[in-house]
């Protein structure tokens, strides 16, 4: 069971959270202007990182808010968590 630091509530156990897939994938502002291939990429293509991965979590059974996390997928170590809308912290690995 992972221990996850919600940026709003602090450290809480994993069962309070829901995983939300890769972070920083913005829905195109004007979908009609996006090609079929680009739309398919938006829907389906993910980096599937081995190592540091920026991903979304939601504190479903807590404050209910989405936030982002940097997690090392090989060790399950959380490097940072940060609020939705904030830039991915740089220089962390």
């Amino acid at each position: 069971m992972l221990l996850i630091r919600c940026p709003h509530c602090g450290e809480r156990p994993e069962p309070e959270f829901a995983y939300g897939g890769e972070a920083h994938i913005a829905r195109p502002a004007d979908p009609a202007a996006v090609s079929d291939d680009d739309w398919a990429a938006y829907l389906y293509l993910r980096t599937n990182a081995k190592g540091v991965h920026a991903e979304r979590w939601r504190h479903t059974r807590g404050c209910g808010r989405f936030f982002n996390a940097l997690r090392d997928t090989t060790t399950d170590r959380f490097i940072a968590t940060y609020k939705s809308g904030e830039k991915r912290p740089e220089g962390l690995r």
């Binding site: 069971m1 992972l2 221990l3 156990p13 829905r27 195109p28 739309w39 829907l43 939601r58 939705s84």
Partner: protein, 1003 residues
């Protein structure tokens, strides 16, 4: 006094004897005995039969690593625990144990005949032997093998005991209360840190409990243990957990501990939980899990009377039990010498020490040679045990040397009734490895040690390879405890201990592990799974090169002991056989649990009625009184149908359907998901989220909403009412309520932060009573306190606020039946009263309660889809005929862009259609496949499948919905549904079977 119990010594209570039985025979033991020590005290060595060959097996160890002495302990018919290690079962007065895997009795076991066929049962025999005929596996071979090879039997009655679960947090968790663990706990606790100390044994102290020669801080070792426990116990920030196994190390320093609370008690107090599962989240963990002595491999090494040297020492020192009188010790390391001295001093005759090392003495402490001479103990160097002899119990060993060609020379036989083996201690790295720490191979110890940690964790003492002596372990534990306290923010200081060590306790020296094994018949590596050296050899001859594959092929290390006494020997033998260094052969994975844990401890209180939360609607009691048959929909209990006396489901549903079509019916629709979308941005939010155009929806009106995912596939649906300009009452499917709200929150929080909108689940705020049928208005009109609910005032798809007999009410005019219909929403706590009022008024009109089954039939007659039944996540709005719902003028909504992809308009997409069987009495199976060409041989070309199928009382025939490739263009065609009994011809039709114009709705 029992035959093997010494008159003095040990740490057993001698003032009172405990009676116990084994296989029906009564014996006596003492407080402080394990079942194993008590059996040995009574001269009982034969305690079990092996898994595969039913060979007689005895007690080999004194701890959790025991592979052979597995027993069933019975309190009563419901409290019978199989596969317990006799070495860990604490004796209590009245304990009743029975042996396993034998028939008719332990002494005379017919299963022993399998050994006659053992040449036919090599490694992997079941992969080769029982392959033909194929059907025989399930019917013949597997049941036969299962009966012949096996462990104990689980009780058939429900477990009557209570199992507790508890979460705990601490700065420092110390696993293992031997010298290193106690020292770590002392150091950490003195810093003020919250400390949890657990140990699987009933008493703390570990190896100190069988050390009556060393002194710590001026105290005898056992006295020091008592003082240390006393100091820890009086510290309120320390929790001591004896009889508690740390079985699993999970990410982020989350450890599972299993505490056995009452299993050692003769009469467990009522109300006390039998076990407690601890989930500990520790800032820092100190692993002080010690080490496990390994056996040696030689022919006949499994005979009762063959025991680990360290185990014999424990039985001698802890329980004053002398497991044999004439002892031979075979060893590859120095630890056996201490055992020899102690056994001799206690009155046994040590006939010989057989030491594989050519010259063991240089590394040994001064004076050993003299002591050996004085004691008259002969040491045979460069020698080994070539085999054992004995009927049921070891009576002699044949020793000798191997020449350069590996052939035995200088054999001679030595009589003995106890053969002690000392294959060197191996650090217990199980938990460290579970924590994903990296193991490194240590050449000197010839085994794996903890390397880099992955968690906030440190290993201390024997489990990190400090196997030589008490001082090293104690001081290492103290250092680890202080460091752990410091790392958790407390000021830890490393205590120093004054230690006078037993000079015979050395265990150092390079171990000739790889050369130790002696081949030959019945040379066992894995005692619990009956894997022999020759099985490993066969696996290697057949081409297996990795220990992981050798393990799976031979099943070595795969028994319930997980190879605690076999993996190291198997690894070394494989490395030698393959001519590779040990580290390049690989290492099998250490998995949780360290020792078996009961299912009950994981289940805890979550069983029976509280296994899973149950959701009941406010009118549940009414449905019970009406005799409803319920079905589970998610966590909800929903009334499925209301049978009257003598009715089956078919008859009840037919009656309920007719009542709704001809008069009126009442239905509990409270489970529908309800979400209020409110705020200045509500309309924009709805426009972006649902396919529909909401801007033109007038306040007080409703619309059928369709929700897609951004991949364009239908995700949910439901009626949405506009309660105000900035307020929508959204309904969802029963099962979709939570995920729709989660999806809404996702878009609100992360994509459309420009919108000022609030989302609130109101599912449980409202009780929803659907009143449906041509007489619904007539029924409701007198109840709604003067509210005008005429067709003009409240047309189809309208909503109005009012009161029902004084109760606040939102009244929806909606229909999922195709009839004139209303959904009465009242606050949950008034649902039962409102329903009672409606039913009272309905008596005169023949108001009939109906359930979900009737609801399904009625909606299918109208072609209304059920999300998840008629759709499956690959269905577009067009596929199910919902294109009309889409707001065409909107620039964007979730799923719009994906709908523009060409594949979403392919003419051969599966489309929702109706199917009418040629024989109206035949009701198709839901999920049945549809083909267009009859008489095909498999594999047939499948063009769709049946999604909904019912007998329609209204239409007097069966009806079905299906998704069929290019279905709408096939209307009028005959297709076929192949079933085991033959193909069923069906005619394709439009998916609306009843009142296609909707005339009955708009009245």
């Amino acid at each position: 006094m029992s035959v093997a119990r010494l008159p003095t010594g040990g740490q057993v209570g001698r003032d009172r004897t405990l009676r116990f039985s084994f296989d029906g025979k009564s014996y006596e033991g003492l407080q402080g005995d394990t079942l194993a020590s008590a059996l040995l005290a009574n001269g009982v060595h034969l305690v079990g039969r092996s898994f595969k060959y039913h060979r007689p097996r005895g007690i080999m160890t004194a701890g959790p690593e025991e592979p052979s002495a597995l027993v069933t302990v019975r309190r009563d018919a419901a409290r019978s625990t199989p596969n317990l290690r006799a070495t860990q079962v604490e004796l209590y007065d009245g304990l009743c144990a029975v042996s396993q895997n034998r028939w008719p009795s332990l002494r005379f076991d017919l299963g022993r005949l399998t050994e006659l066929f053992s040449p036919l049962l090599p490694a992997g025999f079941y992969y080769k032997t029982f392959m033909w005929p194929r059907t025989a596996w399930h019917q013949l071979y597997e049941p036969l093998i299962r009966r012949m090879a096996g462990l104990g039997e689980a009780p058939l009655l429900p477990d009557p005991d209570r199992y507790a679960q508890q979460h705990a947090h601490c700065e420092v968790l110390v696993v293992g209360a031997g010298p290193a663990g106690l020292a770590a706990a002392l150091a950490a606790s003195r810093s003020g840190a919250r400390v949890i100390l657990c140990d699987e044994r009933p008493r703390f102290g570990g190896s100190l409990l069988c050390d009556d020669r060393s002194r710590i801080d001026g105290l005898a070792a056992t006295e020091w243990v008592t003082a240390a426990i006393a100091e820890l116990a009086q510290n309120p920030r320390v929790r001591l957990l004896p009889r508690t196994t740390a079985f699993g190390y999970f990410p982020h320093n989350h450890l599972g501990l299993s505490e056995r609370i009452t299993d050692h008690l003769a009469e467990p107090p009522a109300g006390l939980a039998r076990e407690r599962l601890w989930q500990v989240r520790a800032q820092q963990v100190v692993l002080a899990t010690g080490s496990i002595e390994q056996p040696l491999v030689f022919p006949g090494n499994d005979r009762p009377g063959v025991m680990l040297a360290g185990a014999a020492l424990r039985y001698l020192k802890e329980q004053a039990v002398m497991p044999g009188r004439r002892v031979v010790i075979v060893t590859i390391c120095d630890s056996a010498y201490r055992v020899a001295f102690e056994m001799q001093a206690a009155g046994a005759r040590v006939a010989a020490i057989i030491d594989l090392r050519p010259d063991p003495s240089p590394a040994q402490p001064d004076g050993w040679q003299q002591r050996l001479r004085q004691a008259g103990i002969a040491v045979e160097t460069a020698a080994r045990v070539l085999r054992t002899r004995g009927r049921g119990h070891v009576s002699a060993v044949e020793i000798g040397r191997l020449d350069a060609a590996g052939l035995p020379t200088g054999q001679r036989s030595i009589d003995c009734d106890l053969l002690l083996v000392a294959g060197g201690f191996v650090p217990s790295v199980h938990l460290f490895s579970q924590s994903r720490g990296k193991l490194r191979y240590d050449e000197a110890l010839q085994t794996y040690l903890p390397g880099d940690s992955a968690e906030s964790e440190r290993s201390a003492g024997a489990c990190r390879g400090l196997l030589s002596g008490l001082a090293a372990a104690l001081q290492d534990g103290a250092a680890a405890g202080a460091a752990a306290a410091n790392a958790s923010g407390c000021a830890g200081e490393e205590p120093r201990f004054e230690i006078i060590e037993d000079s015979t306790a050395a265990t150092a020296g390079r171990l000739p592990r790889a050369e130790a094994a002696v081949s030959g018949p019945k040379a066992f590596v894995d005692f619990q799974h009956d894997v022999m050296l020759k099985d490993l050899d066969l696996a290697m001859r057949e081409g297996f090169r990795s220990i992981e594959h050798i393990k799976r092929y031979t099943t070595t290390g795969m028994a319930t002991d997980q190879g605690k006494t076999s993996n190291v020997n198997a690894l070394h033998h494989a490395a030698r056989g393959l001519g590779k260094p040990v580290p390049s052969v690989g290492l099998t994975t250490f998995r949780m649990p360290y020792t078996p844990i009961t299912f009950a401890s994981f289940a805890g209180q979550a069983r029976g009625e509280i296994f899973d939360p149950v959701r009941r609607t406010p009118m549940h009691g009414w449905a019970v009184r009406q005799g409803a048959v319920f079905e589970d929909v998610g966590m909800w209990k929903r009334a499925r149908f209301f049978p009257r006396s003598g009715e089956d489901m078919h008859a009840a549903v037919a009656r309920e359907c007719r009542a709704v079509r001809e008069g009126c019916g009442v239905f509990d629709a409270s489970t529908l998901g309800k979400i209020v979308v409110a705020g200045p941005g509500a309309t924009a939010f709805m426009d972006r989220f649902y396919v529909n155009d909401w801007s033109k929806l007038a306040v007080g009106r409703c619309k059928y909403g369709v929700l897609l995912r951004d991949d364009g596939f239908v995700y949910d649906d439901g009626v949405v009412a506009r309660l105000a300009e900035d307020r929508f009452h959204v309904t969802t499917t029963t099962g979709g309520a939570a995920r729709v709200l989660a999806m809404m929150e996702d878009y609100r929080q992360t994509e459309w932060t420009d919108l000022d909108v609030w989302l609130t689940s109101t599912t449980e705020q409202w009780a929803v009573i659907a009143v449906q049928g041509p007489r619904a208005r007539e029924l409701l009109a007198p109840l709604v306190d003067g509210l005008d609910i005429s067709a003009a005032a409240l047309p189809h798809m309208a909503v109005v606020h009012g009161t029902l007999r004084g109760m606040p009410m939102m009244l929806f005019r909606v229909s999922f039946t195709g009839e004139l219909g209303f959904e009465v929403n009242v606050p949950s706590d008034q649902g039962a009263a409102a329903l009672d009022a409606i039913c009272e008024a309905g008596k005169a009109l023949g108001l009939t309660p109906y359930g979900t089954e009737t609801m399904h039939v009625l909606r299918a007659e109208k072609g209304f889809i059920i999300i998840g039944q008629d759709t499956d996540g690959t269905v577009t709005p067009d596929d199910v005929g919902l294109t009309w719902a889409i707001g065409k003028a909107k620039p964007d909504f979730v799923g719009k862009r994906a709908l523009a992809r060409p594949a979403m308009h392919a003419p051969d997409r599966k489309q929702l259609v109706g199917l009418l069987t040629r024989d109206p009495r035949v009701v198709l199976e839901e999920g049945a496949q549809v083909v267009d060409v009859p008489g095909q041989a498999p594999p047939m070309k499948l063009i769709g499948h049946v999604t909904s199928s019912y007998a329609s009382a209204t239409l007097g025939r069966s009806i079905a919905l299906a998704v069929v490739a290019g279905g709408r263009a096939r209307i009028g065609q005959t297709l076929h549904v192949p079933m085991p009994g033959g193909e069923i011809p069906v005619e394709v039709c439009a998916p609306v079977f009843y009142d296609p114009k909707g005339a009955r709705l708009n009245v």
